[in-house]
Structures are given as C-alpha cells and as structure tokens.
C-alpha cells in the first residue's frame, strides 16, 4: 500500500520559513552582515532595500536585517528551550498523574487549575518581576535576563502541556492493549514507556508547536511592556524600540512584527497539521 500523501502547500511554506529561521539562528553569526549592535552613523533611518543595508536601518543607524537575524537566535533559543523543558516536565507530571491516579492525581489537577487560573501573560509577568527584580538596572547582562525569561516561561508551559498529556493518557490507559499488558504483569514503568508514551507523543508534539508560537508572542509582549530582553537583542525588543519611531520609520516596527507573525503562523500551522494527521490516524484505528 502506498502511504505517500500529497502534502498541502502550507507545509512547504511554513517549513521553509521555519528552516530559514533555524538556519539564521544557528549560522547567523557567520553571515557577512553588518554587526547588529553597532550603529552606522552615515546611514540613519534608511528605508528597506537601500544599498549596504538590505532591510534598511533604524533611526539610530542599526542594521535591520542583521538585527532580525540576531533576534531570531534569542527568539528560537528562548522558545525552544522553555517549551522543551516545560513540555518534558509537564508530560512527566501529566502522564504519571493520569496513569497512577489517586491522591497524587488530585493534587496535580488542583495545581494545574491554580496555575491555569492566572492568564499566561500575567503569570509570566508576575514570575519575571519576582525573579528579575534586581536585573532591572541596565548593567544586568542579557544572558541573565534570558535565563529569567526561560525559567518563567517554562513554569508557565508546564500546566499547559501537562493538562493535555493527562487528558491524552487518560484515553489510552483504558484501551484493551494497556489493560492486557497490565494483566500480564508488565511493570508500570514499562507500560508507560512502551504503550502510553508513543501514543501520547504526537499530541504532545502538536501542542509543542502551538506553545512555541505563544512563547514567541509572550516574549514580544514582555518586551513591549518593558521587562523583556533589552537593547534590540530579540524581535520583541526591536519592536519595542522601534515603536517610539513609528511615525518616522515604520519598517522598524513592521519588519520585526512580520517576523514574529510569520513564525507564529508557521508553528501554528505545523501544530494543526500534526493534529490533523493524528485525527486521521485515529479514525483509521
């Protein structure tokens, strides 16, 4: 039986955009570009497609293209690490609580409900302001802020992913093959690894793509609120800086905004694609 399914165009568009971003984030430093954090005093506020500055410069003479390339590094780094960490922890908690049930499960559900009762952005705001209160001064290194951002976002992601993992595990633990395996005396750990995890994993992957998108949005929002990463080092912070010059050089705002939007659309698209192919597989069983 032939299994090659025709993939929709969106798959290729979203895929190439995301590959481009990942390429920039890894090899961006090797590209022959003007440095992103040094101003070119002879080229202030250039419009896009000027000579020497592909996407123009900011009012302060920073090159937009290298800024975006550099920003992709932080955006990808922050979102992948926090979603990876938060997803892993959330999945462990969610799967184990749904599998073992009992008091532990009740406690986990309560904890998730408590954390989910505070909207994402608000929770990240509260966490960051706690962890980062002494990084407010300009001397604090970008690295420290990135670490604070990642820790806070990881905590926010845990209940989001954990709840899905729990719900999904719940469906699978009542399936015949799991019950059969249990009755044969297979160890719980083994059942989770062999039977539950492979079935829950695709759903996790779908939610992970969506989570990456929302983390990028949250990063941008935090920067706009003035507590993200400073100095134009990420897309959000370019946006926040450019906002002040909205009237004079609009591309300072719409270029990072578009970069964020395209990336989020692409990750959402992928998440949706994974979920749909999952539903089709489910329907066949």
């Amino acid at each position: 039986m032939k299994t090659t399914r025709k993939r929709p165009i969106g798959f290729y568009i979203a895929g190439s955009w995301l590959s481009l971003i990942v390429f920039f984030s890894i090899f961006g430093k090797l590209l022959p570009l003007p440095t992103w954090d040094a101003s070119d005093y002879e080229a202030l506020g250039l419009k896009p497609f000027s000579s020497g500055h592909l996407l123009g410069t900011t009012m302060d003479g920073y090159d937009m293209f290298s800024g975006l390339v550099n920003g992709s590094r932080i955006s990808v780094f922050v979102s992948v690490i926090s979603v990876g960490l938060g997803g892993a922890i959330g999945a462990i908690i969610g799967i184990s609580s749904a599998y073992y049930r009992g008091r532990y499960d009740k406690f986990v559900v309560l904890l998730f409900n408590v954390m989910l009762s505070i909207p994402n952005l608000v929770l990240s705001l509260a966490l960051i302001s706690t962890f980062a209160s002494d990084t407010q001064d300009a001397n604090a290194s970008t690295l420290r802020r990135v670490v604070v951002l990642i820790v806070s976002l990881t905590i926010v992601i845990i209940p989001l992913v954990g709840r899905i993992a729990r719900a999904s595990t719940m469906q699978w633990t009542s399936r015949e093959f799991v019950i059969a395996s249990k009755s044969m005396g297979t160890e719980n750990r083994m059942i989770i690894r062999r039977h539950i995890l492979p079935n829950v994993a695709p759903a996790m992957l779908a939610i992970a793509f969506l989570a990456i998108g929302s983390v990028i949005i949250v990063e941008g929002s935090l920067a706009l609120l003035g507590i993200g990463i400073p100095g134009g080092a990420s897309w959000g912070s370019m946006l926040a800086a450019g906002r002040l010059n909205l009237e004079f050089s609009a591309h300072e705002v719409y270029l990072p905004a578009l970069a964020i939007a395209f990336t989020v659309i692409s990750t959402n698209w992928f998440g949706d694609y994974v979920r749909n192919s999952l539903d089709k597989r489910e329907a066949k069983i």
């Binding site: 309560l110 409900n113 408590v114 954390m115 009762s117 505070i118 909207p119 994402n120 952005l121 608000v122 705001l125 509260a126 966490l127 302001s129 706690t130 209160s133 002494d134 719900a167 719940m170 998108g213 949005i217 941008g220 929002s221 706009l224 609120l225 003035g226 507590i227 946006l239 906002r243 909205l246 009237e247 609009a250 705002v253 719409y254 905004a257 578009l258 964020i260 939007a261 989020v264 659309i265 990750t267 959402n268 698209w269 949706d272």
Partner: protein, 317 residues
C-alpha cells in the same frame, strides 16, 4: 444538581485561595525587601510603617491573611509612593469599567462577524468561499494581537490620521470620542477571536447539517435560510457560546498588551504600570482580581451548561 453546584463553588474557592496564596508567596520571595522596593528612597520609619500596615512583618501567612481579609472587607491594598499612599480602589474605579468595555465590545464584534461567516462557510462547505474564509481566518488567528495593533495604529492613526493613536474617553464622557478611540483596540483584539469563533461554529454547523431533522425540515419545503437559522444555528451555538463565555476571563489577560499600546487605563495597563513601578501589593491585588474573574467565569459557564444541557453532567473526568 445542587450538589454539583456546591461542589463547583467549593472547588472554585479553593483554586482562588491557592492562586492568591501563590501570588503572595511570589511577592514574599522577592529578593530584598518589598517595602524597600516600593519606596526606595525612604527613611526607615516609613518602611517600618508600611511593613506594619501590609503585614509584611508577620511572615508569609501573616501577610497573606492580612491581604485576604483586606480583600474580603473592601480594603484592596494601596500604592506606596514616596509622597504617600494611594488606595488601589481609586484605580479600580476607572480600570474595571475600561477593561470591561474593551472586552464586551470585542466580544460583540467577534460574535457579529463570526456567526454569519461560520454559518455560510459551513453551508457552502468546501466551496471556494469556504476555503478562502477558512485559510484567511487561520492566518489571522495566529497573527499576534500586538503586531496587528501596531500595524493598525500605523496605518489608521499615524498615516491616515483618522483617529488618535492612543487615548481613552470614559463611557460617561463624550460617547462619540469614546467609541472612536475604542475602534482600533477592539479590532486588534477581535480579529483573532473572530477567527476562532468562526472555526468552532463552522465545525458544529457542519455536524448539525447532517442530522435527520435538518433533512426533514428541508424536505418539508422550508427555505434554506430559515432552516439554517431556526433548525441549525440554535443547536450548534452551544460550543460557540461556551467558548465566548470562557474567553471573557482569557481576554482580561489578553488585553494587557493592547491596553498598553493604546494607553487605555484598564486592568492590564495598571498591572504593567504596577510592575514597572514595583508596587507589589497593588500588583498582587490586580492579578488576583483577574484570576478570580477567570475562575468565576469558568465555573459559572460550567454550572450554567449543567443546567441547560444535562448531557454535559457526566462528561467531567
């Protein structure tokens, strides 16, 4: 039935208490001293007075108890500034209506747009119209609200000069100005919402259209338009309405950034301000209000659905 309602209300109370305690704990864990953070350049006596007043000198439980009993008796804490204090209730008086107006307008706009779009695209499933609407909406649902807000304010406020880029006019003031200033923020917030509502309604309507009673109604000779409204829309609208109600809470969080961009003095804007100004007590109160509203809406929806549609009773895991 009554038992379910009581259980939901009890669960809601537990969640709210724990969430607010978690927030207190966060404030407590702040490196350094909260009083010092709020009023950095003050004499020791002032800071001691603040500690006494907020209960910061009585440990985490003492502080939480002081804050909670204050909230229950209408004392919502205060902003501690170098020149004196300002009660949070002062701010809430303007912030709550501003945020509520923003949210209600957004819901109205989103529902008004998504109901016809969802119905028609489901009715014409897989037609060109449906495909265009679906793919456009899918793109819009993932378009970040703040990006949209900034682009809209660039085009309509800065370039075309049709409206002021920022500002807020209370409902009780000049109604025309009020509505005009609300247009851009409401549009920025409602685009994503419209997209998700339309998708929900479309899926439900497609499922309902396959029901026997719809075929029956159509075969009786009732016009398609009437069948859609009377026989299809009503049973398909529950998911949409549930989602709309659940979004009331979610939107309060989502408005933070839009309120900041458009300088609307709502809850979100005040939270951002209190974080910037290190007003931890005020910030805790504001976040707690949002958490409470969120949990409250969710529980109300649950209870309401329980009464309206008994089928949902047993579904809960």
């Amino acid at each position: 039935m009554l038992q379910t309602i009581v259980r939901r209300l009890f669960g809601m109370t537990v969640v709210v208490i724990l969430a607010t305690f978690l927030l207190s704990l966060l404030m407590w864990m702040l490196p350094g001293d909260a009083a010092q953070l709020m009023v950095p350049n003050s004499v020791a006596e002032v800071r001691d007075a603040i500690r006494m007043e907020t209960g910061l000198d009585r440990g985490i439980f003492g502080y939480y108890w002081k804050w909670l009993s204050g909230m229950l008796t209408g004392d919502f804490g205060a902003y501690y500034l170098n020149g004196g204090t300002r009660p949070v209730t002062d701010v809430l008086r303007e912030a709550v209506p501003a945020s509520l107006q923003l949210i209600i307008y957004t819901q109205i706009v989103a529902l008004l747009l998504s109901i016809p779009l969802g119905l028609v695209s489901a009715y014409k499933e897989n037609s060109r119209f449906d495909k265009i609407v679906s793919s456009t909406l899918f793109t819009l649902v993932s378009f970040p609200g703040f990006a949209l807000g900034l682009v809209l304010s660039l085009i309509f406020a800065v370039r075309l000069g049709l409206v002021d880029p920022v500002g807020y006019e209370p409902f009780s003031g000049n109604l025309g100005t009020h509505l005009k200033l609300m247009i851009l923020p409401v549009v920025s917030l409602s685009v994503g919402l419209t997209a998700s509502y339309t998708r929900l309604l479309r899926n439900d309507v497609i499922a309902t259209l396959k029901e026997d009673y719809v075929t029956m109604a159509a075969s009786k000779g009732i016009s398609d338009r009437r069948v859609l409204w009377r026989h299809v829309f009503r049973p398909s609208s529950t998911t949409l309405l549930t989602s709309a109600a659940l979004n009331m809470g979610g939107l309060i969080g989502g408005t933070i950034i839009i309120e900041t961009i458009f300088a609307i003095p709502g809850l979100g804007f005040e939270i951002a301000y209190s974080i910037g100004a290190r007003q931890v007590v005020a910030m805790q109160t504001l976040i707690a209000i949002i958490a409470f509203a969120y949990v409250f809406f969710n529980s109300m929806v649950d209870i309401f659905m329980n009464i309206v549609d008994p089928r949902t009773r047993e579904r809960r895991v």
